[in-house]
């Protein structure tokens, strides 16, 4: 494959994050009870960007946590290696709060299923909502996003990659053929 097809450039990502921030505030009637929990890796960076936007719009700093769903995956023991583990840090009580889960790409829905199981081990939120930068379809579970940056029809044999300057040095969303080298292990 040559140059990967670019779905979103950095300006589009920035505008999508701003719009989602507005939508979160609208849906939750302000930021008072909202907390953001990003799914590692990249979901946490997006969550921090959303928090920055919300602070700019509403002058209110919402707490941001990071959640690693590895221990809740449904395919542990089905691969050659145990999936690599990332950090989980939710330094606030989620009970009674409106938790917005944040991830980069929504695909089969299995990550979100795992994240829901993980979150309820931390407390009993009043509501859990889902924000994603890209929804690429092909759901295998009855899960949908409340806030979507962009809906992108894809083929199963394609891979959607979100690049963020915090980890990748640049912003962008690209589609590549599956099996091309990845910069990180899927976790």
């Amino acid at each position: 494959m040559g140059e990967p097809a670019r779905l979103l450039d950095s300006g589009e990502i920035r505008r999508a994050v701003t719009r989602i921030a507005h939508e979160i505030l609208e849906r939750n009637k302000g930021a008072a009870r909202v907390v953001l929990v990003g799914i590692a890796a990249r979901g946490d960076d997006l969550a921090r960007r959303l928090a920055t936007e919300i602070a700019r719009i509403e002058d209110h700093q919402v707490p941001v946590g990071v959640l690693d769903i590895t221990f809740y995956r449904d395919d542990i023991g089905m691969r050659a290696e145990a999936p690599e583990v990332h950090e989980t840090r939710i330094p606030f009580d989620i009970t009674g709060r409106r938790v917005v889960l944040v991830d980069d790409v929504l695909f089969t829905g299995r990550t979100i299923r795992a994240a829901l199981d993980a979150l309820v081990d931390f407390g009993r939120p009043q509501a859990i909502q889902l924000a994603v930068l890209v929804d690429r379809g092909h759901r295998e579970l009855p899960i949908r996003a409340d806030f979507v940056g962009k809906n992108v029809p894809t083929r199963m044999d394609e891979d959607v990659r979100v690049l963020l300057r915090e980890v990748d040095g640049e912003d962008g969303v690209v589609v590549v053929e599956k099996g091309e080298t990845r910069e990180r292990e899927p976790a």
Binding site: D68, I69, T70, F71, Y72, R73, D74, D75, I76, G77, M78, R79, A80, E81, A82, P83, V85, H86, E87, T88, R89, V105, L106, F107, T108, G109, R110, T111, A114, D117, A118, D121, F122, G123, E140, M156, D159, V160, K178, R184, P186, A187
Partner: protein
């Protein structure tokens, strides 16, 4: 990564770092209200203890339970082992019952290794004779790393009955793999002749060693060794090799004091020394659970024979 954990020497420095890094995440689990994750749901872990060790068994048991595995405790008293069943028959019985991992403590060096050849389950060595106790060494490294970020050039003394200590062997090997400098300290009778081949220094003068240390690791001294004439009296031992308050003054400010437990307060370590803030002995116990969770997860979280390649392939990108 690894199927069994029989000896520290089977691990590379990268393996050890992966175990410690994974353990960091499990330590976080231990701080939650619900200290349990479903990672090993449906797996069976057997604790097969031919020697008494309540602490190690409980630590492994808690580790397995916090991973949602089913745990069976099989100890010698009251089992068919006391009726003369051989290790092999016990192993085959556990195999037939579908054990996924067997944690074994045995008085004979090499028993875990032998067991691993008989069963398809993963075998974790929880102490074998005077050979090794690898999970203790790994939890010690984890505890050290909480305070001292790099093992490269780190200076540790392991003090006491090195000869009979599987902890001393495993910890020496682990520190050497990670680039640390080990000094084994004790009376000549309690330092084994082969220690020269471990890549460690040997000293019989604790006071001379103290000022350069980052970690002072005290081993438990068993009183029966006195009857076996390894040292003349407990009192003399403790005067020469016990970590007293005045010896602590010889340690650098930052140096940690460690002990694998259970302690003989007043023998190898003075009671007030064991309670100093820099004595991280209870942290070692807490961290033991996270490190054992990490090992069980890494050993059992990998492939099962009947894995569905296609399924895992399909869900891969989104689970990223």
């Amino acid at each position: 990564m690894i199927k069994h954990l029989l000896s520290i020497n089977q691990l590379s420095d990268r393996d050890i770092l992966r175990i410690l890094d994974t353990a960091e995440s499990f330590r976080e689990v231990g701080t939650r209200v619900i200290k349990k994750v479903p990672a090993l749901r449906g797996r069976t872990v057997v604790n097969l203890f031919f020697e008494n060790s309540t602490r190690t068994r409980i630590s492994f048991e808690l580790a397995a339970k916090r991973l949602s595995a089913d745990v069976i405790n099989f100890s010698t008293s009251g089992s068919s082992v006391s009726k003369g069943e051989s290790l092999k028959d016990t192993a085959l019985t556990l195999q037939a019952m579908g054990a996924d991992a067997i944690v074994i403590r045995h008085a004979s060096s090499g028993a875990p290794h032998t067991l691993s050849r008989w069963v398809s389950a993963s075998v974790l060595n929880a102490g074998d004779g005077t050979h090794e106790h690898p999970t203790q060494a790994l939890l010690d490294l984890f505890t050290i790393r909480e305070h001292i970020p790099s093992f490269e050039g780190l200076r540790i003394a392991i003090v006491g009955d090195v000869r009979h200590s599987r902890v001393a062997r495993s910890l020496t090997f682990a520190m050497r793999i990670m680039g640390g400098e080990v000094t084994l300290v004790g009376p000549p009778t309690l330092i084994p002749p082969e220690a020269a081949g471990w890549g460690a220094e040997v000293s019989h003068d604790l006071d001379a060693v103290l000022p350069k240390l980052d970690v002072c690791y005290m081993l438990r001294v068993q009183r029966e060794r006195q009857r076996q004439q390894y040292f003349p009296s407990v009192r003399e031992y403790s005067r020469l090799f016990g970590l007293t308050r005045s010896r602590v003054r010889g340690l650098p400010e930052h140096a940690l004091i460690m002990h694998p437990g259970p302690m003989n307060r007043g023998v190898e370590i003075a009671s007030d020394v064991a309670d100093l803030p820099r004595a991280v002995i209870s942290d070692q116990v807490t961290n033991g659970i996270a490190v054992r969770m990490s090992l069980l997860y890494l050993v059992l979280g990998g492939g099962r024979a009947s894995s569905s390649e296609e399924d895992s392939e399909r869900s891969e990108p989104e689970v990223a």
